[in-house]
């Protein structure tokens, strides 16, 4: 399938007539660039409407009405019918298809009424012969288009960002989608259908032969077979019910465990809260100790600090008194000088300096001891000592005050944490009250699940025994049939149906396994091509397991599906989609369908984008991208241009609200608006 062009008239934001021609061949990339709200998804909607007549796409709420007719056209023509048309032209296997779809809208006051009108399909065959009459029957159009690209699997080729987001998740809905995509695209569901049809045919044919044979033995055997078959069906029904109960019970257990895990969060928060409270108590004790240290220091040295200025003025005053006093030179010094005949103050020899000797003797004669001198000396000496320690005391008090401040700041920080945890705990306190009830329920559910498992096993044993009996009866029936010459042809018909069914069953198993291993190999290979080099070693392979779920295996064969980033998961989703398309196309090098992607680069990192841009054009015959400004910076633009694959380049310009134009840009021009 190759898209040729899409033409719109008054469709959604696109007022009047607008057209996009899609690139193909060697230059197979078409980019439609538009900032959010300019109508990119409108293009995607037009494609879905053109192909399938769909008014809704995957991201829409199916209950909400989606308008297709341009509002501006209706505003300018109130109470007049406004037609919106989408014409899609594409090729498939040498034939050219042109589909025209029409919707009509009216606006009366603020009320909008819309109706999907006619569809028309024209086909030009391989020789260029145009179909004489267009096909207008909706069912016939649907059958033809579903024959080209089945609507149920279209999302694997034509998808919006939502699809990648969804596939990149790992929940049950996604697993179901992946399985559905695989079994439909690879026609595994048709094999299953064939097996079931042949089973029904075999049993109805047997009944027909029995009733027309009027053979009592055969009739008896058939009745026994019917009874046993009914028994087996009943057991199967019981088993299905039990299995369903098992699934819902397991889901319930999962839900309760998740709730309990949340309560575990409460426990953890409570533990953190308690730890913070302990921390606060410790800090309060530390602060108290520090306060006492400072108090002791202040009691010891505080008065000195307060009196510091007074001390120094007292010292100066006392020093002056000592200078003014006669006993400036102590009597001991005078006596020692006279005894040694050497001045104890200046070291002069008193033998040679008679004047000095006389002066010292005069000092001795005039000496009068002052009672205050020792006291003054002691006071000035103490003040002097204090002067030496002053810096040390101040620095010690300063550092203790700093430490105290730090402890206080710490306490404030802890109190903020305590407040935060307290709010958290209060919010979840109600849940905590339910904790015990939940644990009781969980144990009950687990016991019930074990009970169900035992019951299912018992039913399996019963079924196995019944199946053995049925098998023996069937063989007996076949022998009776074969021995009856008049039923030889019927017997052979039955044998052929049985053989065909067995062949299909063998192919079903073999083919499913082969397809899964092909998908595993292709997805892994494409992932290695698309992922950034530094992440390449993260993943050993991407398995499609027996339940058709995607398992991402690390190098040590550990399942890392839940551990990789959302961006990496999106590359896995893209790899899976691309490989599924490739395997479904019969493994040919090119995917035979266009890959049409609406804003696919959302969470994908720059390096991974580069790899996608470099490699997807080589995997698919056509790549149509609807990109927003955050996805097409100058870096991506240069990358696209460097591939040499860029064929068509459009920009969505918003002229006014409700009116966007599709403008073709030359591929050598600059498009991006961001660096």
């Amino acid at each position: 399938m190759k898209l040729i062009e899409i033409s719109l008239n008054n469709f959604r934001q696109f007022y009047g007539k607008q057209k996009i021609e899609f690139a193909g061949g060697d230059e197979n990339i078409t980019i439609v660039f538009g900032e959010n709200g300019k109508g990119k998804t409108g293009i995607f909607r037009a494609l879905m409407f053109g192909l399938y007549g769909s008014t809704h796409i995957q991201q829409d709420n199916p209950k909400e009405k989606i308008h297709l007719v341009n509002f501006l056209a209706m505003d300018r023509n109130p109470n007049m019918p406004i037609d919106t048309t989408v014409k899609l032209v594409f090729e498939h296997k040498g034939r050219k298809y042109e589909i025209n779809r029409l919707a009509r809208g009216y606006k009366t006051g603020s009320e909008i009424t819309e109706k999907i009108m006619d569809a028309e399909l024209n086909i030009t065959d391989e020789q260029g012969n145009y179909s004489a009459e267009p096909i207008t029957d909706e069912n016939e159009i649907k059958n033809i288009l579903n024959g080209i690209l089945d609507e149920s699997i279209k999302d694997f080729f034509l998808f919006d960002a939502e699809k990648i987001e969804t596939l990149a998740k790992t929940d049950a809905q996604v697993k179901a989608e992946v399985k559905n995509g695989i079994v439909k695209l690879l026609q595994i569901d048709k094999l299953e259908g064939a097996i079931n049809l042949l089973k029904r045919l075999h049993s109805s044919e047997k009944r027909r032969i029995t009733s027309s044979s009027h053979n009592l033995d055969l009739t008896r055997k058939q009745n026994d077979i019917d009874t046993l078959t009914e028994d087996i069906a009943n057991i199967q029904e019981k088993m299905s019910l039990k299995e369903e109960n098992k699934v819902s019970c397991a889901l319930e257990i999962e839900r309760i465990e998740a709730q309990l895990a949340e309560n575990e969060d409460v426990k953890r928060i409570q533990e953190k809260l308690n730890a913070e409270k302990d921390k606060k108590n410790l800090h309060v004790r530390l602060a108290k100790d520090k306060k006492n240290e400072i108090k002791g220091e202040l009691i010891a040295n505080g008065p000195h600090l307060i009196m510091k200025d007074t001390y120094y003025s007292v010292k100066n005053y006392l020093d002056q008194i000592l200078v003014d006093q006669k006993d400036l030179i102590p009597i001991e010094v005078i006596e020692k000088s006279l005894k040694d005949l050497v001045c104890a103050c200046c070291g002069n020899d008193l033998h040679e300096n008679k004047d000095h000797l006389n002066h010292i003797e005069l000092l001795k004669n005039n000496f009068k001891r002052s009672e205050l001198t020792p006291l003054i000396t002691q006071i000035t000496s103490s003040i002097h000592d204090y002067g030496l320690e002053e810096d040390e005391i101040l620095s010690s008090i300063d550092s203790k005050l700093r430490e105290f401040r730090e402890i206080k700041d710490g306490i404030e920080e802890i109190e903020r944490e305590i407040d935060r945890y307290s709010v958290d705990v209060q919010q979840k306190a109600q849940e905590q009250e339910n904790l015990k009830n939940l644990e009781v329920t969980l144990n009950d559910k687990k016991a019930y699940l074990r009970e169900l498992e035992v019951e299912v096993e018992t039913l399996k044993i019963q079924m196995s025994e019944k199946e053995k009996s049925l098998d023996a009866l069937e063989k007996e029936f076949t022998r009776l049939l074969r021995d009856n010459e008049s039923l030889r042809i019927d017997s052979k018909i039955l044998q052929y149906i049985e053989t065909l069914k067995e062949r299909f069953e063998a192919v079903f198993k073999e083919y499913s396994d082969e397809m899964r291993s092909k998908l595993t190999a292709e997805t892994t290979e494409i992932f290695k091509t698309l992922i950034d080099r530094k992440d390449k070693d993260l993943v050993k392979r991407i398995d499609i397991n027996e339940k058709y779920e995607i398992d991402i295996m690390g190098w040590d064969n550990i399942n890392i599906t839940q551990d990789i980033s959302q961006g990496q998961r999106q590359v896995v989703a893209l790899s899976f989609i691309t490989s599924l398309a490739k395997v479904a196309a019969g493994g040919s090098e090119d995917i035979n369908f266009p890959l049409f992607m609406d804003t696919p680069f959302g969470r994908i990192s720059g390096n991974n984008r580069d790899h996608l841009i470099d490699n997807i054009p080589n995997l698919t015959s056509q790549w149509v991208l609807l990109l927003t400004d955050t996805e097409l910076s100058r870096t991506e633009e240069m990358r696209f241009k460097s591939t040499g694959k860029l064929g068509k380049w459009y920009k969505l310009d918003q002229i006014e609200p409700g009116h966007s134009d599709i403008v073709e840009i030359q591929v050598n021009e600059t498009m991006s608006t961001r660096g």
């Binding site: 024959g147 026609q187 049809l197 029904r200 062949r503 073999e510």
Partner: protein, 57 residues
């Protein structure tokens, strides 16, 4: 929609006429135009013809 190439190859390995009947069955299921009952009837007739042909030899 055609039968997948890999699947087609496996069906081609069915013995004799069974391969043709198996492909016919898959194609009808794929086309989705006929009811299951009429496909069953068609397959029964195809097998019956095959048996009668063998018997006639």
């Amino acid at each position: 929609m055609k039968i997948n190439k890999d699947l087609d190859k496996k069906i081609s390995d069915f013995p004799g006429e069974l391969s043709y009947i198996a492909k016919l069955l898959l194609q009808e299921l794929e086309a989705g135009r006929k009811s299951n009952a009429s496909i069953e009837e068609m397959i029964r007739e195809e097998i019956r013809e095959l048996v009668l042909e063998e018997e006639g030899k």
